[in-house]
Symmetry: C2
Subunit: 323 residues, 2 copies
Amino acid sequence: MSESPSLRPVSDIDTVACIGAGVIGGGWVAYFLARGYRVRAWDPGAGAEDRLRRLIGAAWPALTELGLAPGASPDAWEMVPTVAEAVEGVGFVQESAPEDLELKRTLLAELAAATADDVVIASSTSGYPMSDMATSAADPSRLVVGHPFNPPYLIPLVEVVGGKGTEDWAVSRAAEFYRHIGKSVIQMDQELPGFIANRLQEAIWREALHMVAEGEATVEQIDLSITDGPGLRWPVHGPCLTFHLAGGEGGMAHMLDHFGPSLKSPWTRLEAPELTERLRDDMVAGAHASAGGRDMATLVAERDRAIIAVTRAVAAARGRTDG
Amino acid sequence: MSESPSLRPVSDIDTVACIGAGVIGGGWVAYFLARGYRVRAWDPGAGAEDRLRRLIGAAWPALTELGLAPGASPDAWEMVPTVAEAVEGVGFVQESAPEDLELKRTLLAELAAATADDVVIASSTSGYPMSDMATSAADPSRLVVGHPFNPPYLIPLVEVVGGKGTEDWAVSRAAEFYRHIGKSVIQMDQELPGFIANRLQEAIWREALHMVAEGEATVEQIDLSITDGPGLRWPVHGPCLTFHLAGGEGGMAHMLDHFGPSLKSPWTRLEAPELTERLRDDMVAGAHASAGGRDMATLVAERDRAIIAVTRAVAAARGRTDG
């Protein structure tokens, strides 16, 4: 491991480069602008500048409602014609090019070569491990995954993880920068294709595709089954804590002991792992850690308040009158 | 198929039997009470009556806030010592016994024999097809799955589906009754283990268990990856419409064409189906049906309003001050 460079505080960063400005890259531009940054964007696609202007315009009311940083402006960006101009003098780079491995390899190598040795380059990739994307870079030490969720200007989560050639300081600095700008960060200590949330999303997505392919359910039924069902719980407790509550007063332990046999049932095309004593105990301990000292009655009351509020919030946002 | 019996309007039903009064059965009791029904409950478990009283007490503030039906009372229930007493003269039966196939078979056979020929018996089973549960019943014609989500007094979704021996009128009547009491109903026309939502939930759950078993992620990271990520979108749009929006102005078609290759990536242990032309077209048509005439800009604005509102609602429910 090389020495980490002398680093400016992340609060000194005032300009960010956004490489690729489609739905995700453009969403990042909007978010950085709202947090008071200047942004230099690069996107070789036809009409990219107009699309980006429209995206920022569509996002700005939401960002304004959430509260802008002092001096934030929806116009503090420019689209530049080359990658070199985009990254010149910036303090952070967010790459959001199309999900094409060769393209990412070429672009990340170019970005690593064109930036100063204290600039972290984060990729918005939906699932490629950085070790696979960094293979063309002469110096992969500052290449990090910083995986956001659509729209990046509203969903707080960013998954941060390095590759084999990434220095630890670069991973930590990316996490620090994202937290500084208000993101919720999961810093992973090992590579995993799809990271965490996309593995879970993708499991749902694949099962949904199977059901449609087999004529077992329609797209509308699938969407309704989530929006009017488990989707109302997930913003408050996540899947593990949700099942902790499903266990009643016995919590996760009761749930696993009671529903354990269902793991063998063909409830999805995804095979279940063996529910060993160790896995059971890890899940029970994890659920208690996730609960963080809140007892079951507190969790239930919190969930109930949240479900009512979420239901009303969604109804109002849909323009229904029953909210 | 036999003649359907002469049916009272579902609005004439005034008493419901709840067979099993744990987390799910008790949640049903609370919901039926809030909608103004009298409930007769049966549960042979030690301490069941006290547990049910506590559950109703915990649920009632939420139910009161949502608005009670005229005459609704948290005390309009009694725990009776036998199944026969529970179902005598009731207009609907909700069975929520433990998830044990033999137990369900015995109980459903007893319930079918003990009820009048116009009374539908709905099972809260998490995933057993009714054809598997109805095997001991002399007359399975009124046995229906009515699958709720925890807590049944707040989550609107109920999945309704019959078995091979179920009459169509019984399935329709269950759906009609649930809609009458304010539920959101998915009426399925074929049996599928785990129905729809639990197949999707279970896919997430199994992938989560795999990650914990392999030491790839902690329970807390898994929960955070949903609550601060995709979980904020799912109450408003469901997984298919969410991906329709991820496609930007090109929608589902662009998303499938762009991310199609990711289906081959090891992003979950669940193998993907072949993305045939037909499946692609079905997904695109389904997304447009799910969008129901809302154009992309409308969907984006709706999503953004909803995410902000959901974020604030959840923060407030957790007792944070940032809501």
